[in-house]
Structures are given as structure tokens and as C-alpha cells.
Subunit: 367 residues, 3 copies
């Protein structure tokens, strides 16, 4: 038992740096994020335990190899969450809000044993008119241990100013693509959809069998418990305080810890399996927003809408679907005709909507 | 952020198929279940974290190899739960009740890296007199990636009819063995019990030291928390709604999510280590029933009874014990003289009893 | 479904042995603990999920190899908790209190695939004057599968007597070192701090930049949920009833399960990353005490004090810091000027203090 020692320093002590404020960001600068991470089969098992994911290319090694992967890759979203987590201490620890994602590209498979690093470039800055906050746009890229790019994405966050007297930067708002176009969907060269076996998923519903405008109410719901979401977020080494510190959060308007939005995306993706069994791979997230907060105890449901059906240049084995994934809390999708409050689409979102995600998946085609 | 899009389809959307009803089953048909699963060391670590399991052949690679395994195998019950989970979407998603198990055989070790697939044959059907439900008997078999059978079991479930006007099938009730006889206990050929070292478990109590009729009150209890059991059940990719969807369950008579019965079996097996330290392997489950539901917050205890002590043909190194494992909730085993309510064995079960399992284990013999 | 069987034995049954009482310990005896454990990448992933740990040598294989490790080792504390867990059934199952640790040495890295075994020597015994309890001092050593020592530590626990009439042993209190001196800090020979890259942690604050007397208030807090701490403690196969059995604990003065103290150490170590990013390795725990109990729902914070800055003989690449790590519950460190109640250091600890740990870490030096 150590004895007590008088401490000579100031009682408040030295406070470590805790992330950047709005005035600390410079247009064009590159931030190399800390904590490279070697991903493993252990992460993959945990991801299944945390989400119930069943997409076969991420849980059945022979199916993955048959499809053209060197070995069983990590779930696209697991890789994304780990790569994303690294950006939090530098980008969003002082964020007031995560405003959106765009142009998320899944460039190459991430395999157990790979080591991920992430860096971010500041591509836009705009101080808000209140002078107390600003919006930071960053383009983040994750690489593996041989410097191959595996993921890239843009996000924008509202960040507090620490020194409100700091001068406002010249506003720069980047021109962001509304979507990753089908010809640019990455990471498909080595894959062979003709080898897909519908016994893997129990469904032979393929790309041609879905039509734009169709809506699928996924039947399953999943209640989020306190440990699940914090385990997930710690696994991703995401350090955002709102997810972990109940004492701090009980004085916030939410009065409780917030579930990491990425966990909600993963839960919805897993729930969407029933009805979209053969949406084998995610290749892009075109945009997304966390409409309302999710808390432990909420039961998550979702519906999907087919936005577009895209043929892929030169491919008869695989096609792409652009999907809208609407996550709901404590409300099954059959209870809501629209994600919006009123009968028109002009109103705000229903309180039950937690996620509105626009993303692109790859499906096998009938041959 | 994706814009809202008008959706042309019916507000209720397309509902994906959600499993079979009683009238969908045909005697003799074979269902090939989806979601092959490659099991890993990550699953094994999670299983220890979820149950506290300590049986040495599943957590100490040198002990496993010494005993004759090629490498450290997965816990028998972990392999069973993963193989079993695959049957849920096809067999029991619309089940009213899981009525029983029989003839569960652990045919071959499952190693990290193996990929499990499961198929089921319908071996019995009997419509209930109410005309609204029926009993389905299935024989399920799991294989590894080289098509070696690793597990087989029979279970029977009560399933709702969707179309109550559908004709009743000719009743067929399969003739099920009351036990897997000792001469048929599988998967022992390559094992050498003479190499067992009692330092592995801290107990030299072996096969000869247990007598039929003996009861062992295992001292430890374990409280089940919300995330534990849902993490376990998601790890097994078991999709039964009763375990996950609190919103749906709060309108059920139980008013809350039900703990997967297999998790209760695993907890009891882990708790039974103290007193049955050298019950190294499970080779059969002769029968079992989940007597009462278990919920998050319940503290699980158990007792074991030695039902039979079986010599194994031609083996002086190993013997088998047929055991009864009685799981209790919120009641230590010393408080109950019998699993039944009254002084006789004719009454119903005590409310505290959650599990009554009849299974066969392998123990080293004194040489 | 097994039939009910009349059980011939006493209704209370045979109770398995449940650990040693004070009078069962003999000075000088060696206890070989059960349950050897092969550690894996799955354990490492779980450890990150359970604690949010970010120290790079345990999560980035290239960084670990660059630094001189053969491969990515397990987190020092993960290895310690697993090795420690094995001692519980023999040493502390009947403990009234864990009184302290001393001379904890991290002798060699533990790699995925290694198998840990632990044995303990009784090095001190002293019956308390009440005649109902006594203090047992044990020196425990963990080895890997090639019998290389990887960890050693002393702890002392207060254990109940079962037979209060048993004679008191001759009191022997071992002479324990107040610290592991810098020249004796183990396991550094193969490491090369000159290869440290500050991009790994985002901080170039190194050994020379810390001064004795300095205090660091780590900014992050982490709330412990019910499943997290029981998952951790089960992963370590630590069987102490106080962590698991809510039914038994509700009649204790605490009225609830106690969080394993080692989990609190791990949480504090992970939280201390912000401000001590380059405290890459723990090489010794000089002493420590769990001042107050931690329960699920508590939010943990911590501060660190630099106790000593030690050069290492013959090393210009690495130096050691002796640190005090004070863990707090439901109270940020900025709110407490001292760990003690009054203005002097003579009073008792504040109720918010849960941990007071004195340990030694290795940091890279500026070259």
C-alpha cells in the first residue's frame, strides 16, 4: 500500500490536451491520427456478438475465398468504425454535433492481421454566425500496413471555438459528390459473383429482383443494452466522452450517455439482412445523418428503400443497389408510412427516426 | 445527408419472409440452413467471458494436445450453440415453445478455423387438437468444411399454423432413444485419458469416485446481466425474437426478453465445474427441458446428480458418467431437496427450476 | 425431457470443496493452481472492448515489432489478471479482504498462443488477535509453456478460519520491498526505445518532460456497466463470488456485486493514456490498495502523480517513471485536491477514492 505523498503542484493539476477547437484547424493541413490498430479474428467475433451480423462473406471463410477474397475479410462497417475511431481525439472531441458523412468509399478489403492507420485533411472551414462555433470538413483516409488505401470518407462536424476572439477563417465549403457513381464503386476487381451460392443466405433474391421505389420493412428488432454499445465503442477506440461518462452526461440535456451512431448503423445493417440477404458488400455510403439520439434501452428497427438499381460497367455477375436505410427506435417500421412527421415530406423527421443512411451495396445477379 | 424521397410503394412495405409455419413442413424434407460460420479463437475467448468456463481442454492448448486433440478445440457447447443457431430462422422463428432435445451427439471436435454448416431433416409432425399449432420433430446435423459430421441432435418444437384451414398431416412421432448408450458415445478414439494430469483442474476425483444417486450442490452462483445473454445469443447468430426485442416482449406475458436456454445450459455447465472438475468432455445430451424462463437479473445456481456410471468398451483410461444437471434461479441448491414442488415427485417443478438436463460426460479413470 | 428420479442421498447433497481457510495454509508450502490458460488474440480484442485501452505496443503489431518484441504482446495488465485469476480458488475464495500487493514484476512479454500457469508460495502467516481470521502472504509466479517466468507478485489477504480452535501458527511477516528498484526493472533487454515514433500516440512528451511532484488530471471518465465488469472477470477465470452472485451479495453490507479491483486498475490505466500517452509499458507495481468498493453504475476517473523519475542503467533510449495512480468514482479529479479527507494527509481517504496504485512505467527518452 503506497503511503500518501504531499503533492507540490497545483491541486487542479496539469490537464492534458483534449483535442482541437475550431480556431486550431487550418485549411489544407493534414492530421496524422494516433493509435494504429492491428485488427484480428477477435475483433470479428466481437462484432458478431455486438450486432448479430450474418452477412456470409464476413463469417464464412470458404465463402469469402470462393468469392475472390484472399481470406475472410472484416465486416466493412467494423473496419470503418475502427478507422473512424482514430479521428475522434483530433477532430471531434470538442464537437457539438456530427453533421454528416459523404463519399464514404470501401476501397479494399481489410483482413485479420492488417494494421490500420488514419489521417485527415482539412478540406473546408466555415465559422458560424454566432461566432462561437464553426464547421470543419475533413477528408479522412485509412491505409493498411503496406500503405494501401482501404477506406476514405468525408465528414463535417460543428466544433466549439475556445477563443471566441480568434479571427474567422475565409469560408470554404467543399463541393461534395451526392453519391459515389456506379462506375466508381471500388474494390470489385478480384471478386466473382458467378460463384455466389444462394444456400449461403437461404435466399436467391438477387439484384434484378429489387426495384427502385420498393420498401422493405425488416421484421426484427434489437434492444441495445448498456454494455453492448460501450463495448463496441471501446473496441473501436473511439474516445468521445458522450458515449462513456454518465456523470458528465447526467447534466446534459440528454441526461444519459449517447449510443455511438456507428453502432446504430451496424445494428440496422444487421437487422436489414432479413429482406436484403444478398446485399453482400457495402461499397459506399453516399450520405447519412443521425436524426435523433439513441440511448441504452431503446429497441432499434429499420426499413430499407431501393433508391436506384445500377448495372456495373462490364459486369454480368454483380450489380449495385443504392439503398436508403431508415433506423427507428421503439417503433416497428410497419407503424410509420414515412420518416417524416406529417403527411407531406416537408415536415421534420418523426421522433422515432434515429438514422437516415444512403448507401450502396453489391448483389449477385442472376446469370 | 440524404434528401427525403417520396416512396411509391405501400406504406406497410414488403415484409420479408420470416420463417416457416406448421403447414410448411413436410415429413422427410431436408432444410439446408443458411449462414455457414467459421469459428475462431475469438469465439472461444468470448465464450469464456460469457460463461466463466474453466474446463481445461478448451482453454489450455498444451493440455488439449496432450490428451490427443490436434489442437485446442472449441467448447462442446459453444460449437453446439453456433450450429443450433443456424436452424432458428427455418425451424423455430414461429415456434410457440421449444419442447425438448434428444440424442444430441458430439461427434468430432470443432477447431478454430473450422466452418460449420447445419441441415435438418423433418422426422415427425403432429398437429395439435386445437388445430392452431403442431409439433415438428427435426434431426439436425452439423458438418465442418470437409463434410465431417461434428454434431447431430433431435429437437421438437411447437409451431403455429398460419393457415388454420391447411390440412393436418398424418401424425408421425419418431421413436427417440432415451439415451446415447455408452458403447455409442462418439469422438473418443483419438483421446488418451492416461495422460490426464490432475494439476490441470486441481482435483484428482475421477470416474470411479462418483456413485449413482450422489448429488452435488455446486457452490457458485452467477447473475445474468442484460448484455451478457444477448451478446452470447448474437454470437451464435440465433435470431429468435424473444431474446432481443424488448418492445415486442413487453406486451407478452413475460413482459421482458427471455434468456436463450442454451446460455443457461452453458452457465450451469460452467458452475458445475466445482465438484465435477474432471468432467472433461460432453459427448451426449440425452434429453433436456427448459422448465421455467430465465430473465436478465436472475442469479443461476445448479446441482448435479449422478444418474449412471458407465464403463466404456475397451477403455481403462476413460469412463462416462450420465448426469442430471438441474438449473435454479434465485435459489441456491441447498435450499431445495427436490426439483419438484411437493414431497413426492409427482407434483410439478419448483418455480426456481429453470433447466433439467440429462447428459453424458467423459472422465479420466484411476489407472 | 429427463424423468424425475428419486435421489437417495442427503437432500443437502455433497458440497464440493470451496477453497482454503486460514488454518489450511502452511508456511513455505507451494500451491500449484489449476486451469492453465492459452491466451489469444481474442483475449486481446476483448481487453480493448472492456477497457478502451490504446497503448500502441498492445494494439499495433508493427509498432510492437519495431520496438523489439517478437510479435504484439498482450497488455501487461491482461496477462496479470489472467495469471492472478488462477490463484483465487486456492487463496482468496474465503478471503475477507484483499489487503495489498507488492513487488509485482512483469518479467517477460506474454504473446498470443502462450499458455500461462501460476503457482504460489506461502511466505507469511499471522493470525489476527480476534482468533477468527488471519493474514496470508503469498508470492505467486506465472510461467509460460516453456517454463519461462513471465510475472511474479506478492499479495496478502485476510482469510477466515473455519475451525477457530485450530492453533495459531508462529507469526511470520515477510520483509517486502517498498519498490522494484530501477536497476531491477525487468524485461527491457530486447527493447529499443530509439525506434519509438511519436506518431504512434500523437504525443512527443517523453521521460525527460515529466517531473516528480507533477500531477496530471486525466480528463476522461468511464462508467462501468453490469456486463462489462463481469465479462472481464469471467474472461480472467477469476471465481471470487463477490463479483458474480447478486443473490448472495444482496444480503451483504454492500448489497450488490463488487467490481473486481483489477478491472478498476485496467480502466484507470486506460483513462490515464491522455496525459501519459508514452507510458508504453508497465514493468512493476510497487504497491496498491483498493480503497473503496466500485459498483456497476459508477463512473471512474483518475489522476496520476509523478513520484520518481529514474534513469535506467546503461540506457539512453528508455527511462522509468514511478507513478501514483489515484482512481476516483463519481468525482472528476479536478474536484479533489488530495486523495484524503482533510487538509492534512493524516485523515482517511475521501469516499470517492477507489484505487491508490504505485507503479513503474517505461517511457522513451529524447535522444
Amino acid at each position: 500500500m503506497p503511503e500518501n505523498r504531499a503533492v507540490a503542484t497545483d491541486p487542479q493539476g496539469m490537464t492534458p490536451k483534449t483535442g482541437r477547437f475550431f480556431e486550431d484547424f487550418r485549411l489544407g493541413e493534414t492530421l496524422v491520427h494516433a493509435t494504429p490498430r492491428t485488427v484480428t479474428e477477435g475483433d470479428a467475433s466481437l462484432y458478431i456478438a455486438l450486432t448479430g451480423a450474418r452477412h456470409p462473406l464476413y463469417c464464412a471463410a470458404p465463402a469469402a475465398r470462393q468469392f475472390g477474397f484472399r481470406q475472410q475479410p472484416l465486416d466493412d462497417l467494423l473496419a470503418f468504425h475502427i478507422a473512424f475511431g482514430k479521428t475522434v481525439p483530433d477532430i471531434s472531441v470538442n464537437a457539438v454535433a456530427n453533421l454528416g458523412y459523404a463519399d464514404v468509399q470501401f476501397l479494399a478489403p481489410v483482413y485479420p492481421g492488417d494494421t490500420l492507420t488514419t489521417q485527415s485533411e482539412v478540406i473546408g472551414l466555415k465559422q458560424n454566425s454566432n461566432g462561437r462555433t464553426g464547421i470543419v470538413y475533413v477528408l479522412s483516409r485509412a491505409h493498411n500496413q503496406v500503405q494501401q488505401p482501404v477506406l476514405s470518407w468525408v465528414r463535417w462536424v460543428m466544433v466549439r471555438k475556445h477563443d471566441t476572439a480568434a479571427p474567422a477563417p475565409t469560408p470554404v465549403i467543399p463541393d461534395l459528390p451526392r453519391e459515389v457513381p456506379p462506375a466508381a464503386l471500388p474494390g470489385l476487381d478480384e471478386l466473382d459473383g458467378s460463384r455466389f451460392d444462394p444456400l449461403l443466405t437461404g435466399s436467391d433474391r438477387r439484384w434484378e429482383d429489387y426495384s427502385p421505389g420498393e420498401r422493405i420493412n425488416h421484421p426484427a428488432g434489437m434492444t441495445i443494452d448498456p454494455s453492448d454499445h460501450t463495448l463496441a465503442t471501446k473496441l473501436y477506440q473511439n474516445t468521445a466522452r458522450v458515449h462513456f461518462d454518465q456523470l458528465a452526461m447526467q447534466d446534459s440535456p440528454m441526461r444519459q450517455r449517447l449510443v455511438y451512431g456507428g453502432h446504430v448503423i451496424s445494428i440496422c445493417r444487421a437487422l436489414s439482412y432479413d429482406g436484403l440477404e444478398n446485399a453482400l458488400l457495402i461499397r459506399a455510403i453516399n450520405g447519412g445523418t443521425h436524426v435523433n439520439p439513441t440511448f441504452a434501452g431503446d429497441t432499434i428497427y429499420c426499413w430499407s428503400e431501393i433508391l436506384e438499381r445500377w448495372a456495373l460497367p462490364g459486369r454480368t455477375d454483380l450489380g449495385a443497389l443504392r439503398l436508403r436505410l431508415v433506423g427507428l427506435k421503439n417503433c416497428p417500421p410497419s407503424a410509420l408510412a414515412s420518416s417524416h412527421q406529417g403527411q407531406t415530406t416537408d415536415g421534420g423527421y418523426h421522433d422515432a427516426v434515429v438514422l437516415d443512411l444512403d448507401y450502396s451495396v453489391i448483389m449477385p445477379r442472376h446469370q
